[in-house]
Subunit: 182 residues, 4 copies
């Protein structure tokens, strides 16, 4: 098993990262911090003559790095009850990659992957974060990615997350599952 | 009553725009196409010394235009079961505006506004678009914006939306409501 | 096409019935008012020696009547954000019927059926009724029933429903769809 | 603190009970097994002349027992993606109790209570059980009951639940929270 963590945070060492550290404790992982890269919003050309054009940014490199792994962890703060715009732009671009001859087996390969979600928010995330979990589930179902589990944490101010016992035990459960499948 | 439509689409004259045209038929509205502007992702500095810094893009102008109206229509294609990254980045930035001394009454003023949502997707949107509606509801509740109604449409290829009778009748209901409150 | 309406209401001529009348206007349907029958809660014996035993109530007759039709309309007031206990007991019993030799093809036959949902509630049903719609969707998916559409109405006091334009237009859309598929 | 567990199961010693035992380990609780009592479906007479009439069953005794405690644990198997019909009938009756002069302070007293939910299902409950959690949240919000936490477990055959590590750690988190608030 080989694991990549995709971080959607815009802040360094935030609560989402801290909770994710518990999920990946003792495991070797590659970490991608989306905020460090230029990722343009998709220009939807599915139905345009000529289709999609190449985009001159970092997205293709990131996808190439992600696809080398068989287990994905999507770690995002909950901004306005869903994933950050940064992570959303990254995922929106998958619609292009699915039609990009440089990635001819993108969807088929995704169908062999496993995914986890870590999401941390300040406003009752154990309830108001559930639509986000449902959306990740739909994304994974569409791509036939196996949704292995999620951990939701509650935190607003830096460090808050350490007080969410439920979140840490959920992260522990994911950690055990990840270790068990190595 | 004064209406602004915020479009999250990346395509011109797409299905989302067509369905929205039915919602605003016979009404005077201002239209903002987010794709025509530069909107940077938020850099979350809520907890940083010094707080947020000014961002050199089009966002503040757009917020100023939006806030002149009392009724907002958020019109977005459903990308990967939620709003487009373009629209998400726009909304994520509200966290900055709430702390921006250039907009001292942002949240209080939002509390006097009404909002509608138009969302169009290809993959069973009348079911799989519901988490998106729930998220808009949470956003509006947080800001005390009154959520007046929504229309969900099903469409993939250009023009498909004309075949979704349910969507057009839902759009008609919103149109009548908008006209009734003028 | 042959249509059966399953009513979960406990009140006669209530808002749910009125909205449903719009859905079935001009169509021949069989109506089953669950409140008129004795339907015991399920006694879950899936894992007991001997399995399920026959229950002496009206349930089997109702299922037999329902299965003669190819299109089902589940019409329920929203009690506490979900279907009524009366309707829930009726559906819970399906777990028995799936294992009842008197109905050997129950699940296979359900897989050829179409279903609609009409749900009316008083407390922001267009938002707070969405989990109920998602649950019906899961039920129908499990049984391979095709979920053709739904109408949500807002009403508390008798007659209120006539003021929910959105609901009536949604009901009209269902009515047109039902007529179109005859 | 004084705790009551309301069980919606129809089976004895099932997976829901086993997971709940972990939640209440080391705590003194009163347990109510709804299946052992006669609870009639509500007859909605909110808008009838004369209003509700007394019902000759066990419901009022159960409510009286429940209201003596300040912390409620609702423990239900997930039948068809929501609570059991048995538990639903019990909750539906609250609409009567809210208008019953024998319980003049029912809603006000509920507003001082805390609640937990334990739900166990066989078909991807960590995803498909989320609408049920959202519904409990709406119920508790309506009554101003404080929703303190939930544990979802996956199990079909007797004993399965012991293999859901995530569920047991979630139950452990609830147990610690309950002990901490004594």
């Amino acid at each position: 098993m080989s694991i990549v963590v995709i971080y959607g945070s815009t802040r360094q060492n935030g609560n989402t990262e801290r909770l994710t550290k518990r999920v990946i404790e003792g495991l070797e992982v590659e970490e991608i911090f989306l905020r460090d890269y230029d990722i343009q919003p998709i220009d939807d050309r599915r139905h345009s003559e000529g289709g999609f054009s190449d985009v001159d940014d970092d997205y293709n490199d990131l996808i190439t790095r992600m696809m080398k792994h068989d287990t994905f962890i999507f770690a995002t703060p909950i901004y306005w009850y869903s994933m950050t715009g940064t992570m959303k732009n990254f995922i929106d671009r998958w619609s292009h990659t699915m039609r990009d001859e440089k990635f001819p087996n993108f969807k088929a390969e995704l169908g062999t992957k496993k995914a986890y979600v870590v999401a941390v928010g300040g406003d009752r995330p154990h309830i108001k974060g559930l639509p986000l979990i449902q959306q990740f589930n739909y994304i994974f179902e569409f791509m036939s990615i196996s949704f292995e589990g999620y951990a939701i944490g509650k935190a607003s101010r830096p460090g808050d997350i350490t007080q969410d016992t439920t979140a840490f035990l959920a992260a522990t459960a994911l950690n055990e599952k990840l270790k068990g499948s190595q």
